[in-house]
Chain length 298, copies 2
């Protein structure tokens, strides 16, 4: 069997199904971060993301933005768990012919964003490679009371996204600011039942919440905050790498939140019983099941 | 300027010179692990290593051993700081055509070694890549009183290596067992002044200790424990990837240690003042300066 037949998520399930962990591990693979006991009041968050030339960025993209993105995607995973990023390691696979200036720019992109988020870059590794590849592993902390996983959504909860969706490929995926501040605002003021970041497209990432929460959902096409008036529904639903927060809240909390003046958060639907699946209501109020697709590596 | 002109270590120095860290960071880049405050009695150790097809392993090598090596090199970094490995993340860059069975074997190599060392594999990432690449980031702990860095060697200290040197390319680099047990035995029973693991060749890694300790050294060709009688002096000095411990001890401690029955540790020379540089005494008692070379990625 080839990987393409299994798909990225099939492969991950297959790889991780045999893994065991000791009781210091609160959450292993299957969420945005791994969650580990730290002390009486807090957990550690661990996550890593590899970005590769020709897949996650184009060879001609600005090296500063490539470095920035490598760090930003990992910070976004910490945001998805409502944590605070603290330390990171950076592994670089570099083609032999790369000019030192190009590497300097990549590092400046990483270090500038690290400084902005007060993250300590504490180490790394360099290897020769045919294709430029960057792997960032990020270490964060979160108060136990603020941790949010993908698994807490309940029927009746309202589904929200931050910012806007779609057309990320036109540049946003290289320049987005991870939603740490917004995630912290949410957990410090409201009860958030489930959260993730949109890295594979709204439909796919919502599906991850539904799988982990054992639930279904209905979302409304007209409620999706599109990046531009010209952004297609297709792109808003399926384009990966928006790196926005996707989260759910009990309706009471949702009302309180909407009464605050944060117009960055948009309600897009609600959680249902699992048997209803993931359904979209279009502008003519027709309901249909959303196809399980989005960005896949294989 | 191209990377080749600067060299791997020149590039690392260039990249990391501008880095700043807050006071929770005891040691940033420049040692085997980053060292971070954890609690009153212990530190956290962070390290990552990327291995790439065609560089760190051959396309025809057994996938089980490739996976095993990816984890082993990171465990070896924890051993070099006398710590205990606890959690890891694994990023895989996988060619599209790779059979699922091949990936299964890689993962089995990782998971089996993780189990042996009681390491929790808590997450990872998968990306498509032209070349197989594995990046493991490892999180360990070490009691404050047991932490050993590269920087503590003093003139008069005796230099030791564990096991044997050279000919790693003939297979050992894919099958070695990281020296966690041995490193722990050392720090729990003796005072170790500096330590690293041999990943770039004895001469190069000893040079790293000398740079961080601001010292020189004399080593004796006849004292080097060669892998086989046929192993050349060249290979014992310069071949990378022995993944043995290289460490120094005050002479009193060294005598105590040698009196214990651990014949795995071999004295190979002693630390001197910095101005003497790194010198080798050959079998005819001629002294010469050791050339600064060893494995380099660029």
């Amino acid at each position: 069997m080839r990987i393409e037949e299994l798909g990225e998520f099939g492969l991950i399930r297959r790889i991780t199904r045999s893994l065991k962990a000791d009781n210091s591990v609160i959450k292993g693979p299957g969420d945005d971060c791994a969650v580990i006991k730290l002390d009486r009041s807090s957990y550690q968050l661990l996550t890593c993301d590899m970005i590769v030339e020709g897949v996650d960025f184009k060879p001609g993209d600005k090296p500063y933005l490539i470095g920035r993105k490598a760090l930003a995607v990992s910070i976004s995973d910490i945001a998805a768990c409502a944590g605070i990023p603290r330390y990171c390691l950076v592994s670089l696979g570099i083609p032999k012919y790369a000019p030192v200036k190009y590497i300097d720019q990549i590092c400046r992109g990483i270090f500038d964003l690290a400084r902005e988020f007060r993250i300590n870059v504490v180490g790394g590794d360099i290897s020769r490679a045919k294709q430029l590849a960057l792997d960032v592993s990020m270490y964060g902390v979160v108060e136990k009371k603020y941790l949010v996983l993908r698994s807490g959504a309940k029927p009746g909860d309202i589904i929200f996204v931050s910012g806007s969706l779609g057309d990320s490929i036109k540049g946003k995926h290289l320049k987005f600011t991870p939603r740490i501040k917004e995630a912290r605002f949410l957990v410090e003021n409201f009860k958030v039942s489930a959260m993730t970041d949109i890295s594979d497209g709204l439909a796919q990432d919502l599906r991850h919440i539904l799988e982990e929460s054992n639930a279904g959902a209905v979302i409304y096409a007209d409620l999706l905050p599109r990046h531009k008036p010209s952004t297609s529904l297709e792109s808003a639903l399926y384009a990966g790498e928006d790196f926005e927060l996707l989260f759910t809240m009990p309706i009471k909390e949702a009302r309180k939140m909407l009464a605050s003046d944060r117009d960055i958060f948009h309600p897009i639907g609600h959680i249902t019983e699992k048997r209803r699946g993931l359904r979209l209501i279009d502008k003519d109020l027709r309901e249909k099941t959303l196809a399980p697709r989005g960005y896949k590596h294989f």
